[in-house]
């Protein structure tokens, strides 16, 4: 069992190391991940929201609906903990 797991993990490791060859260099400014909408946030956040920290501005203003969903998930997880560990009625 342990040997099989070790073999599977080695296979996974080899596959992943092979796949890193296709990724862009670390810190490359022209990587495909940097061709998105984020220029807009950095250039407009100061004039539209008066907030210098762009992470906060995007988190709580531009993408606040997403944050609302995340907060609901957190709250539901807390309620689920109570319900799971509640004392059962005999």
């Amino acid at each position: 069992m342990r040997l099989l797991g070790f073999a599977l993990v080695s296979l996974f490791l080899a596959l992943m190391v092979y796949a890193t060859g296709g990724l862009p260099d670390r810190g490359n400014p022209e990587a495909p991940g940097h061709e998105n909408v984020w220029h807009y946030y950095l250039e407009k956040s100061m004039e539209e929201t008066a907030t210098p920290n762009v992470v906060t501005a995007v988190l709580a203003d531009y993408r606040s609906f997403d944050t609302f969903g995340e907060t609901i998930v957190i709250f539901t997880a807390g309620l689920a903990c109570i319900v799971i560990l509640m004392k059962r009625l005999k």
């Binding site: 008066a50 903990c81 560990l85």
Partner: protein, 142 residues
């Protein structure tokens, strides 16, 4: 039976908790200008309570009950939801802070205030929920 921590541990923790809470408040309101924000501040607040729970045991549970944590978490969610819904009554869309009924500020300043209210809501929700998770996992046998 869990052995009670020593006097040194309890004294140091009781000394540390107010400072952690002060730093948590700083993290919440400083989210506009640097590292910080609702999630981080809420986690720090929760850590202060959990630290007190670990060292003081049932005494901490009397001072800050898990019912109160539930109310705080629900209040944070309610604050977030209200900030989302109130602009809809003033002609703006959901979570559009420029429709908040604070008539003495306009434009970017209003969105700045909206972000601050949202951060406080997130912090309360995270704070309550993390304390709630700790309480339900640790149980009530001290």
């Amino acid at each position: 039976m869990i052995q009670q921590p020593s006097t040194i541990v309890r004294t140091v923790v009781n000394l540390l908790v107010p400072f952690i809470q002060l730093f948590a408040l700083y993290a919440i309101v400083h989210g506009h200008y640097g590292a910080g924000g609702g999630f981080q501040g809420g986690a720090l607040l929760a850590v202060s309570i959990v630290l007190s729970r670990i060292s003081n045991g049932a005494e901490s549970l009397e001072r800050f009950s898990s019912t109160r944590a539930t109310v705080i978490a629900a209040g944070g969610m309610l604050l977030f939801g209200l900030v989302g819904i109130v602009p809809m009554f003033f002609g703006a869309s959901f979570l559009d802070y420029e429709g908040l009924p604070l008539f003495w500020v306009h434009g970017a300043e209003l969105r700045y205030l909206g972000i601050l209210i949202i951060e406080v809501g997130i912090a309360l929700a995270v704070f309550g929920t993390l304390v709630l998770i700790y309480d339900s996992l640790a149980g009530d046998k001290w």
